[in-house]
């Protein structure tokens, strides 16, 4: 089995770069530190810049409205990502229901692949199932450990490792096909 390495160093990097100072911080400072990274992560997960921006706004508004409580949490960033991923899953569920009602509709129209025809990695990423894509973005790009990524995705840590492993294997296969 292709066992994924825990990107511990990436976590340290991420925290060093974006951790708020000790004590309460303003929402504006939190927004400044987190929104760009969140937007990019959501773009990678959804494959669609517009959807990523909508999800980012939804999640940040939700956090802002509860900022008195969220700012007191140990890891407000984790809460932000959990909220964003929950919204994303809710949208998928709604899209799935709508797809059942609307014959011929394309619930997940993925602009990602179309926009990046020239990039083999982007194309390979776009072909991954949503859960695998989320797992690889959280662990590889954002540097979350499998346990925290599991909390964000609502699955066990071993599942995150499985999903990330499947994603890496699939990406490798796609890229080998492309190179070959």
């Amino acid at each position: 089995m292709d066992r994924m390495q825990e990107p511990a160093s990436a976590v340290s990097d991420r925290r060093a770069a974006s951790d708020p100072p000790v004590g309460p911080v303003s929402f504006e400072a939190f927004f400044e530190a987190e929104h760009e990274r969140l937007f990019r992560a959501l773009y990678l997960v959804t494959g669609n810049a517009q959807e990523a921006e909508e999800l980012m706004q939804d999640a940040l508004v939700a956090v802002w409205e509860r900022w008195d409580r969220v700012s007191a949490m140990e890891e407000p960033t984790g809460y932000l990502y959990r909220t964003a991923m929950n919204r994303f899953r809710s949208r998928l569920r709604r899209a799935s229901r709508a797809a059942r009602r609307t014959v011929g509709s394309d619930p997940g129209g993925d602009a990602f692949a179309a926009a990046d025809e020239r990039d083999a990695v982007a194309r390979a990423l776009a072909r991954l199932p949503e859960r695998q894509r989320s797992a690889i973005v959280l662990t590889e790009l954002l540097g979350y450990g499998s346990e925290e990524a599991g909390r964000i995705l609502g699955v066990k840590d071993v599942t995150v490792r499985s999903l990330a492993s499947q994603a890496r294997a699939a990406l490798r296969t796609h890229l080998e096909d492309h190179d070959g």
């Binding site: 937007f39 773009y43 569920r93 590889e140 599942t159």
Partner: protein, 418 residues
């Protein structure tokens, strides 16, 4: 693949947030709040219109409505708002401003007449007082203006009503709004009806609501509302920033909580479930979609491996080859499970079926964690593919059960025992 992270960063860098991202967020938040206020306004308007219609019909039927007192005065708030109902059926307030207390708003009625009186708080209900009685009661009146009315009861019938306006102030910010803000303006309600001696569920009222209210979604914020020490705790359900559900609980007399009433916005389907639902989801799937799941398992003959006492399930690409298994009731059931995903741990476990889990099966989605699952009725040993195992489930009673791969919960389905 060693530079996967840099690949991802490079792709991510192709998009940037707008320079005015924070201003856009502020606008989004304002829109959100405005929508909430608009929906709340629609509800308030509906209540006002309904109140006006009631008053108008009372006027037309000959009941004189006399008003005493007025809100918005500068007088200091009192702890208990006192009213006198006299022999003529008139209501006289001693004060028109009352301060909310942790358990609600205290009203006292003095019946100085020689007949029973009924008094009512508009939109909340009422009570009665015998001749000469001084009665103090506690009401869950939100801050703002409220109307208290009084009428004499003669020969079992209410006579002419008079009303007084009361202003409730909440200087300590005790009250957490629980009024529904339904986008459509339409709502529904139900109340719990239990035989005497029915036991409720012990624990924190909010947690009890979380465990036993069906129709909840993962993103829902479920929190205590109303006044913090009200005798009947109120729990509100906030979805996408709007209050879409209100659950009132009552004590069973021995510390347990039971549903007193549930209100919800049209489009939700909140209910009370005796079985813990976990975080539940939308109910009422179209039966056709549900029935379709088992259409294949119900067809065929002895070769149908998804129907019978000895079942067979193949797992491939993190899914199962069926979402429906049918087994006979009261007979030992086995499943031969083949994990065809090389290097991936998988299993099959069985849980009680809830409305939310039905939704997950029909939509082919994961329940999103273990919160939505009840106690496992059978936990299958994990095997790493490629491998196979025979699970001995034992005997099951007739009914529908949920099965899933605990490591890849998008792989799930229904076990029908009949």
């Amino acid at each position: 693949m060693a530079d996967l992270r840099s690949h991802l960063e490079r792709i991510g860098e192709r998009v940037r947030t707008a320079p005015d991202a924070f201003e856009r967020l502020e606008r989004a938040r304002r829109r959100h709040e405005r929508n909430r206020r608009v929906t709340a306004g629609v509800v308030a308007l509906s209540v006002a219109v309904a109140g006006s219609l009631v008053a108008f019909s009372a006027f037309r039927s000959g009941d004189a409505v006399r008003t005493a007192g007025s809100g918005g005065s500068n007088e200091a708030p009192v702890e208990v708002a006192r009213f006198t109902c006299d022999a003529s059926g008139s209501i006289t307030p001693s004060h028109s401003v009352v301060a909310a207390r942790p358990d609600g708003v205290h009203l006292a009625i003095d019946n100085t007449g020689d007949a029973p009186v009924s008094f009512a708080i508009e939109g909340l209900g009422g009570d009665g007082a015998e001749p000469g009685e001084h009665k103090e009661t506690v009401w869950q009146i939100p801050p703002g203006a409220a109307t208290v009315s009084c009428s004499m009861i003669t020969h079992g019938l209410s006579g002419s009503a008079s009303s007084a306006t009361l202003e409730v102030v909440d200087p300590n910010g005790l009250y957490v709004p629980a009024e529904l803000g339904c986008a459509s303006g339409a709502s529904y309600g139900s109340s719990g009806d239990y035989a005497d001696g029915t036991n409720g569920f012990a624990g924190d009222a909010v947690q009890v609501a979380r465990d036993h209210v069906s129709g909840l979604e993962f993103d829902d914020l479920i929190e205590r509302a109303g006044y913090p020490e009200s005798r009947l705790p109120v729990v509100r359900v906030v979805r996408d920033g709007a209050i879409v559900g209100k659950v009132t609980l009552r004590n069973d007399g021995s510390g347990g909580w039971l549903e007193d009433s549930i209100q919800g916005c049209s489009g939700t389907q909140f209910g009370w479930s005796v079985e813990p639902t976990g975080v539940s989801g939308p109910m009422g799937q179209p039966m056709s979609a549900w029935d379709a799941l088992c259409a294949t398992a119900r067809t065929g003959d002895e070769s149908n491996v998804h129907n019978g006492a000895d079942l067979r399930v193949d797992g491939r690409d993190a899914h199962f080859d069926t979402r429906c298994l049918i087994a006979p009731a009261g007979r030992p059931v086995t499943i031969l499970f083949s994990n065809l995903d090389g290097g991936i741990p998988r299993n099959i476990s069985i849980y009680p079926l809830t409305p939310y889990l039905r939704e997950c099966i029909v939509t082919g989605t994961s329940p999103g964690g273990t919160d939505a699952l009840g106690r496992a009725l059978f936990s299958g040993e994990l095997i790493t593919g490629v491998d196979e195992i025979v699970y001995e489930l034992g005997r099951f009673e007739s009914g529908e059960y949920y099965f899933q791969d605990d490591e890849n919960p998008e792989a799930n389905g229904v076990l029908v025992v009949e």
